[in-house]
């Protein structure tokens, strides 16, 4: 099997995630799509790591995961506080650039 297939798969997942960000209005689902994009990147990194025969790619993927974890914590906190003030998790509702 051609190792490029992993990259194709990563590109496909990334594109699906990006489209999801653009299409969905629920902030939580948007956030999930972002996670999907991050994961697609991780897959590419891991595949690159194997292609080149060193572990740096895996290290990058590892850091991506840590940063994603931190991002999820803050992002979900924002969603929760937004929901508390607006009773809505829709990203379109936050369109006035002010509370």
């Amino acid at each position: 099997m051609n190792p490029v297939n992993y990259l194709y798969l990563a590109a496909l997942l990334f594109t699906i995630g990006a489209s999801g960000v653009l299409i969905r209005r629920n902030a939580i689902v948007v956030f999930m799509c972002i996670e999907l994009m991050l994961n697609a990147c991780n897959l590419a990194f891991v595949a690159f790591s194997r292609m080149h025969g060193n572990l740096d790619g895996q290290i990058i993927a590892f850091f991506t995961m840590v940063v994603a974890a931190a991002e999820v914590v803050v992002g979900l906190a924002i969603i929760v506080s937004l929901f508390r003030s607006r009773h809505s998790a829709s990203v379109d509702d936050a369109s006035l650039m002010k509370l």
């Binding site: 489209s19 629920n26 999820v72 969603i79 379109d92």
Partner: protein
């Protein structure tokens, strides 16, 4: 499994190809349903499935540590956090997939398509024909985990420390964002009782949601005449002006109910007349 692990060390095998096509299909389906499912819970579960498939791919690519971490941290912790928030926000609410922004969907489709095509074209242009394999890299320090640990604590130690600071910051940030500041000193029970006696409400207040169709804390209970009583909502929400007024709604509902019962009664009446005939 061991075969695939061995294969991952150097080159691809037929088994891995089969595994890739099967699981790859699953991953794409999971990703698509993440985007397209109307309920956030379903999206989250689909995403979890995709992530597990990705964990298997990590393992297949010789990233044993990352594969386990993907399952434990991502699928286990992060996705559970997502589910938790979904539950908090309301698990029953199903999103409408109807687009409200004009042209948004077409633009998104065009951009996504263009992006995918360009990305795939770019990858196709690259000359990546074979794996070098991770055998040598893993063996240098006696295994995948040891190899990673060696890199993290030598070459990437600075980034690692900064990541630690980032996590702490994120924790504090999340706390700040979700924490509710107390607006004044808490009253003692004695003060509250005195206040109550001084006010005109000697009997206990109605509980929130009483006489109401909603039982959420920010919806005022209705008085017997159908008007909302702000006294039933907690002080903090009252101060912030975050009371949802549903009095009109419930009155309208009441009217609808009356109308329906009228119709029902009328029909019963007609039936009785028919029976009488």
């Amino acid at each position: 499994m061991s075969a695939s692990l061995a294969a991952a060390a150097s080159a691809t095998s037929t088994g891995e190809a089969v595994q890739f096509w099967l699981l790859g299909t699953v991953a794409v389906i999971g990703a698509l349903s993440t985007v397209l499912m109307r309920k956030a819970v379903h999206s989250a579960l689909s995403l979890a499935g995709t992530m597990i498939v990705l964990a298997v791919f990590y393992l297949a690519n010789g990233a044993y540590f990352l594969g386990i971490v993907q399952i434990v941290v991502y699928t286990g912790a992060i996705m559970m956090l997502f589910l938790f928030v979904v539950m908090l926000v309301g698990v029953t609410a199903a999103d409408s997939l109807k687009e409200t922004l004009k042209g948004q969907r077409w633009l998104a489709a065009a951009c996504g398509l263009g992006f995918g095509i360009l990305l795939i074209a770019g990858i196709g242009q690259a000359s990546l024909r074979s794996f070098n394999g991770l055998g040598a890299a893993n063996a240098r320090h006696g295994g995948n985990v040891e190899g990673l640990a060696n890199l993290i604590f030598t070459k990437y130690v600075f980034a690692f420390e900064i990541t630690g600071a980032l996590l702490i910051t994120a924790t504090v940030g999340a706390m700040l964002l979700t924490h509710r500041e107390r607006t004044e000193r808490a009253k003692t029970q004695r003060e509250m009782s005195k206040e109550r006696v001084r006010s005109s409400h000697l009997p206990p207040l109605p509980a929130p949601g009483v006489y109401a169709r909603h039982n959420a804390v920010d919806i005022a209970g209705l008085l017997p005449d159908g008007t909302a009583s702000e006294l039933t909502v907690m002080q903090t929400l009252r101060r912030r002006g975050q009371i949802r007024d549903v009095s009109d709604e419930s009155l309208a509902d009441l009217r609808a109910l009356e109308q329906r019962s009228q119709e029902r009664l009328g029909r019963d009446h007609e039936e009785e007349e028919e029976v009488a005939k």
